[in-house]
Amino acid sequence: MNGLALFWRRYRRNRGAVAGAATLALVVVAALVGPLLYPVDPFDMVGRPSQPPFGRFPLGTDVAGRDVLAGILNGARISLVIGILASLAATLLGVLVGAIAGYYGGRIDDMLMRVTEFFLTIPSFVLAVVVVAIFQPTVMTVTCAIAIVSWPSVARLARGEFIAQRDREYVKGCRAIGMPDWEIILLQIMPNALPPVIVVSSLMVATAILTESGLSFLGLGDPNLVSWGYMIGVARTVLRTAWWMAAIPGAMILVTVLAINLVGEGLNDALNPKLRRR
């Protein structure tokens, strides 16, 4: 409790982070209850195509006469879900690899780091495009593709933390009393290694949302679901006549990603006081 209070006190000091958290909360609320309060199917042709905002439809209609507001609210879900799931998956995988490599070192480390390097050598967006195109675009494949291209940076970070921690006294102590490795890794080192990882993976949510939007823009999004990137892709063809149609979801991505980045910075301040300036 006390730790949480301290965390909050440190976090609160960064005004941008507080604003980011508030914005993010708004987006999350919109994603959760928006579609319930505004129960319009985002794929239903409800009106004339390409109507401007603030007419019969609060945010206008898209190229196929579908309600943009409904798309924005439903898209919030998809964008957030993909962003969060992909980062979670990438974090889990990255931490696992990084922890094992960092804790055991030696050849295991060498091998795992080669694999990591390999993934870092292929341009990440290209890899994501390839994976999604090959395994067909669905929420699942898009999420996996983003996770696959994101985990190596987490792995590197986690490895560094584990290397820094593994020779500390408390770890030696744990070994001395015969604690199994997994317990040392998960219960002893992990809590100490996690703060910077949390910061990085929070920022990864933002990157994942951007990546998803890029994939959708290329037509590599799940065709059964509306995401913001999808909406931009749809609006692209009428950019000249209905710029707002691309501008609205674009602005939503911008605001959300910005909010997440601000939150990330706040977390950084709160969790890594010594690295405050990074």
Partner: protein
Amino acid sequence: MRQASLLFLVRRLVQVVPVVLAIAAVNFFLLRMAPGDVADILAGQMGHATLEFTQQLRREFGLDQPVYMQFFYYIGKLLTLDLGRSHLQQAPVIDLILDRLPATVILMLTSILIAIAVGIVLGVAAARREGRLADTLVSVTALVVYATPAFWLGLMLIVLFSIQLDLLPSGGMYQIGAGRTGLAHALDVAKHLVLPSVTLGLFYVAIYTRLMRASMLEVYGLEFITTARAKGLSETTIAWTHALRNALLPVVTLAGVQFGHLLGGSILVETVFAWPGLGRLVFDALLQRDLNLLLGILFVSSVVVVFANLAVDLIYGLLDPRIVHK
């Protein structure tokens, strides 16, 4: 000293070979998991081909062989630096890539140079005014730009600069058929380069600004900056000589990593701006199952990344005399 560097270079190059081969292998098998092959695509483009016809195509392209045979064949050719032929474009892969490579390299270099230059200036400026209005402005702007999807930004820039203001061309690399040469051609290309490179670069400007600011602040905390002040140097001199070069190391690292990743970003930007580069080619090749071409591009791009990292190591050595390549 020099010999050591050379040795380091050779060793790094030798280390690169298995990595690159591994990449080729993984790419090969990954791409083979895609449904359909180039014969399907070609047959599809024909309108109505027969099974016999598609089989003939497969034989022609060697796609009727077992996958492992195809793989050994591919790797074998790769070892002799032969990237094979694009079955769809009916040309050697290397030609197709070399055709497109300059455009992508120009775009990448320009964007990354813009990004680094602007990032350095803004980052240093912000760091020197830490906590003040200018710093806040720069930092907030950087964050906002960082959060902007590049393709969207590109479209918006087209709307503004190409359509509304009619200042810049909306796409392409130069005015086709104008037959310009020499300086006129270069200027023409430069004009076409503005929007795509700014679009691709802005995102990285944001990153470099933030990184540079952080890095500068870290260096500002070091004692030799105090020494420099105690020597009577002006703040400007301190920032641009003593602090900057030390603060550049992380920027160089990032630039190395990103040079490779630019190919990814350039898929989107090249699509938006009809830039005839590799990014677009990779996407088209993927959709058309042009396996050899795709493998070739991925191969070349990973080689580029590897060399970019090598360059980073070398630049490191130039920037920081403490680093000795072992």
